[in-house]
Amino acid sequence: MSRLNIELPGLSLKNPIMPASGCFGFGREFSQLYDLNLLGSIMIKATTKEPRFGNPTPRVAETSAGMLNAIGLQNPGLHKVMSEELPWLEQFNLPVIANVAGSKEEDYIEVAREISQAPNVHALELNISCPNVKEGGIAFGTIPEVAKNLTKRVKEVSQVPVYVKLSPNVSNIVEMAKAVEDGGADGLTMINTLLGMRIDLKTGKPVLANKSGGLSGPAIKPVAIRMIHEVSRAVSIPIIGMGGIQDASDVIEYFYAGASAVAVGTANFTDPFVCPKIIEELPLLLDQLGIGHISECRGRSWKANELFAHNRA
C-alpha cells in the first residue's frame, strides 16, 4: 500500500516529489546517478520557441542559505526538446511536466500547443515568472489580467492540464492566483525565485553578469510557505509547492501549508541524490508523526483541528 501516491490534474504520481524546472536539465545528467523512475515526476527545463543561449556568465552567486541565478532560460528550443529530449525521457515511467516560457504571448501559445502533444508530457507549467528575462516576462507574472488572459489562451491550445507558475515578486499573490484560476488554470506551481542581487566586495560590481538574479534555496522557504498558506485557502485548484526544500520535514511543512505535491530545486546542487533520499525518508517521517497517507497533511495548518481529526478517523 502506497502512502505517497497523489492524483492531480493530468498527473498520477507515485510520490509527490519531483525536481523543479531548471535545476535538473532534461534529466540526462541525473539519470547517470540514479534511476529516474524513482521520481514522482520531472519538471523539465523551460522551453522556448527558438533555442536560447541565455545570459553571460557568471550566472550564479551564493547568498546566505540561498543562491542567485540568472541563467536566462538557456534551452535548445522547442524543436530539439520535441525531437530529442522528450523522446529520450520516454524510456522512464515518468509523467513529464513541461515548463513553457516565452517573451510574447504567441511564443507561449506555440510552445504550449506543440509540446502538449508529446506523449509523455502530462501537464504544462506556464512559466510567467522568470525574473531573468529582460523583455516581456514581468507583466505576465505581475499583472493579474495579463496572466489570466495568457492562461486562457494557453488552455485553448493545450492537450494537457495547465499549471501556472507564480512569481513571489508581487504585492498580492492571492489576486494573481485567483486570476489564473479564473483563466482556467488546472493547478498552480509556486514559488519561482525572488529577485535579488549580490555585489562583489572588491570590484564593487554585481557578481552576476546579468546584475540581478533569482533567489532560491532555504532562505526563501518561509516566503513560499506563507504564500501557499494564503493561496491554498483562496483557490480550489491544487498547488505544487517549491522553494528551499531540502528534506522530508520540509515536504511535510509544504503539505501542511496547503501544497499537494512539491518540487525540489537548488537542493539538487548541494546533494544530487536529494530527491530519492527524500522519497525514502518520507514514509519513516510519516510513521513518526502518526500519519497514514501524505495527503492527510495537506492544509493542516489552516484546517480546523476537529476537521483534521475527523479526516484521519
Partner: protein
C-alpha cells in the same frame, strides 16, 4: 562514475601562504580517470555555505585509494575547508568533468605544462603520467610572489621547471608567457591551467600548436544540469551553441570555446 562520498582526511597542511594541501581517502578515488578532472566539495554539514566548491584533483594514488588537492583559502567556503583535521570527513562529489588527455603526446615528444597560481595543481598528476609515458615534460609555473609558490620541488623531480613571479621574488620576474617565449627546443603540446588572462595570452600566441586549456567558471551543480557554467563555442561566438565547463570541460582544446 560520479559518486558522492564522505572521504576521510589523511593529511592536511599549509604548504604556502594560504595554500593548503589536502589528502583524502575513500572508494571514490577508484573512479578518477584523468588529471584535470575535479571534485565538488561540500565544506560544511549545514547550509552555510550552501553551494559546493569545485577543486581540481592534484594527484591520485589508486592503490592507497587516496587523492590530493591543493587549494587557496580564499572566501568563506575554503576558509572552512581549511579547518578540517586528520580523521574528519569531507563530503566529496566526483570525479567530475573531462581532464587532460595524456595521449595527445607521444613518448619522446615534449610537453610544456603551464600553470598559474591555483591552476598549477592539476598539472602535477598530468606531469607524473606523461613522465611515466616517456614524454619529455617542461613546467612553467607562475605565482604572484615568493610566498605563494608551492610544489616547485615536486615538479622539479619530474622535469625541467621554471618559476615566474609577478614581483620577481622567485624565479623570473613576469608572466609564464615570458618564460615560454624564451624556451628553447621544440614544443609538441602545451597543457595549461590558470587565470583567464593567462589562457587568453597562450591562445593568442600558440594557437598553431596543440594547446589544451583548463577553464574556471562559477558553478551550481557541477554535473551539467543547471547551465551555470556555459561558454560559447568559438565557431559560433554570438550564437546558441555552447559547452559546459563542468561536464564538457573543464579542459578544452584551444579554439574550441570562446574564452
Amino acid at each position: 562514475m560520479i559518486k558522492n562520498e564522505k572521504l576521510s582526511v589523511v593529511s592536511h597542511k599549509e604548504i604556502a601562504s594560504r595554500i593548503f594541501e589536502l589528502t583524502l581517502s575513500g572508494e571514490l578515488v577508484s573512479e578518477m580517470k584523468q588529471p584535470g578532472q575535479f571534485v565538488h566539495i561540500k565544506v560544511s554539514n549545514g547550509m552555510d555555505p550552501l553551494l559546493r566548491r569545485p577543486i581540481s584533483i592534484c594527484s591520485i594514488n589508486r592503490e592507497m585509494k587516496q587523492f590530493t588537492m591543493i587549494y587557496r583559502s580564499e572566501g568563506r567556503g575554503t576558509a572552512l575547508l581549511a579547518k578540517k583535521e586528520s580523521g574528519q570527513e569531507v563530503d566529496v562529489l566526483g570525479p567530475l568533468g573531462n581532464g587532460f588527455s595524456e595521449h595527445e603526446v607521444k613518448p619522446g615528444e615534449t610537453a610544456v605544462l603551464v600553470g598559474g597560481g591555483i591552476g598549477v595543481p592539476p598539472l602535477y598528476e598530468l606531469s607524473r603520467r606523461l613522465k611515466k609515458n616517456g614524454v619529455h615534460v617542461v613546467h612553467i609555473l607562475g605565482f604572484q610572489t615568493k610566498d605563494a609558490v608551492f610544489y616547485e620541488e615536486e615538479f622539479k623531480r619530474l622535469g625541467e621547471t621554471y618559476v615566474a613571479t609577478a614581483d620577481g621574488t622567485n624565479g623570473t620576474k613576469g608572466f609564464v608567457t615570458d618564460v615560454l617565449e624564451k624556451l628553447e627546443g621544440s614544443i609538441d603540446v602545451i597543457y595549461s591551467c590558470g587565470p583567464t588572462p593567462m589562457l587568453k595570452a597562450l591562445e593568442q600566441k600558440y594557437s598553431h600548436k596543440k594547446l589544451f586549456l583548463s577553464l574556471e567558471e562559477r558553478m551550481g551543480c557541477g554535473i551539467g544540469a543547471c547551465f551555470a557554467c556555459v561558454c560559447h563555442t568559438a565557431d559560433d561566438p554570438q550564437g546558441v551553441s555552447y559547452k559546459k565547463v563542468c561536464s564538457d570541460g573543464p579542459v578544452f582544446r584551444a579554439g574550441e570555446v570562446l574564452l
